[in-house]
Assembly symmetry: C2
Homo-oligomer: 206 residues x 2
DNA sequence: GGATGTGAATGTCTTCACAGCT
DNA sequence: AGCTGTGAAGACATTCACATCC
């Protein structure tokens, strides 16, 4: 079952969201057709994606909603909680720290750091912003599961290096730079500038 | 020169960022090798991407930094300004509206809307939050160039429909749902839940 | 009957490797 | 000599189409 492609993983995450909707409505089975309709893909794609992890559907019937949802949560590793540290208490960091939507899926923001003295000490939703220089000593018993880098571009690589040093293995990067990290560390980038420029390109070429 | 692939566009945006760094430092030429090193790609990829738009480098030398930067800005459509409307004045909408980074690249947030009475009327950086129900009548002289949907999931499709009705052709969607729009409207999605779940998957499968 | 599961075909993107300019 | 530009090869991802099973 090794080596699942990145696009597949991202679709699984989408499927799970739809399944949870169906779950809430008490629907018991769902076809690949229905799952595809609400996502941005095709029935064949849904079946191929799911078949990579085993046969979960019943021919002639569809997929059992609660079982499939549970299986996807298991595959994606969502049955547990993750401790999340946010580095950078600017606009983005603040929105992330205060946003409640992640918590419901097990991503719990437990730490917020910033380098700026004016920010350090502020409390958001009972979460205190700590000096980033203290970060090194804050995790004697193991690093955060996930770190979110929301610093200015010029500080991001530095912060990433420190996180790697702490033993962080997963980074969500909002800074508009490519982070160089060892092979065993996973980085996902969220880069709004790229998205806007891709829109700009699309507007121009029609 | 038709039909450039999406991944290529996104890399062009990255290249441009690096070129602007080099520009700032007064560097006159840059090799595909150097451009690749700072991005997350290879020299061959850089050359292939750039060659899709013509021959801009000099063999044995590299690419002329200012010219290439100008050409990329032109290709991406960044020589002009875009009027941006943000729909949804929650955490994300607020961060977006207040974030100054976009303005420097020509994306100017000029309107912010929300459906919640408590939010309507607030002013952020001199920008007043307006009632989303008034949106329809706010653009007699043409729609915003780009709309950013930062509403809760259950309102997003509704808002998208209205935006399409206004004539908006480019949408950046932060709501965790797939937006159905006509073919001539471009949507880019930013979905932090997917990114986090992809990280979760990576953490679990090592 | 109806929908899955899957090899085979197709399409898309990346990498290779080298001829060709400067 | 050095580095680009590009056809060809290879890897990867999606779609098709149909046998298979409930």
């Amino acid at each position: 079952m090794r080596k699942i492609a990145e696009p597949t993983i991202r679709r699984l995450s989408l499927y799970l969201r739809f399944l949870e909707e169906f779950e809430g409505r008490g629907t018991l089975t769902v076809s690949s057709e229905e799952l595809a309709h609400r996502g941005a893909t095709t029935a064949a794609q849904v079946r191929k994606d799911l078949s990579l992890f085993g046969s979960f559907g019943k021919r002639g019937l569809g997929y059992p909603v609660p079982q499939l949802a549970a299986r996807l949560r298991d595959i994606l590793g969502l049955e547990r909680d993750y401790g999340v540290a946010v580095i950078g208490a600017g606009k983005v960091g603040r929105a992330l720290a205060q946003y409640g939507g992640f918590a419901s899926r097990g991503f719990r923001v437990r730490w917020v750091y910033d380098a700026h003295p004016a920010k350090v000490g502020m409390a958001w939703n009972g979460l205190r912003v700590r000096d980033v220089r203290l970060m090194r000593d804050d995790f004697p018993g193991g690093a955060p599961d996930i770190a979110i880098v929301a610093t200015p571009a010029d500080a991001a690589q530095d912060v990433a290096d420190q996180l790697v040093g702490l033993g962080v293995k997963a980074i969500l990067n909002f800074a508009p730079v490519h982070l160089a990290v060892p092979h065993d560390v996973t980085v996902k980038n969220v880069n709004m500038a790229i998205e806007l420029e891709a829109l700009s390109y699309a507007l121009r070429h029609r």
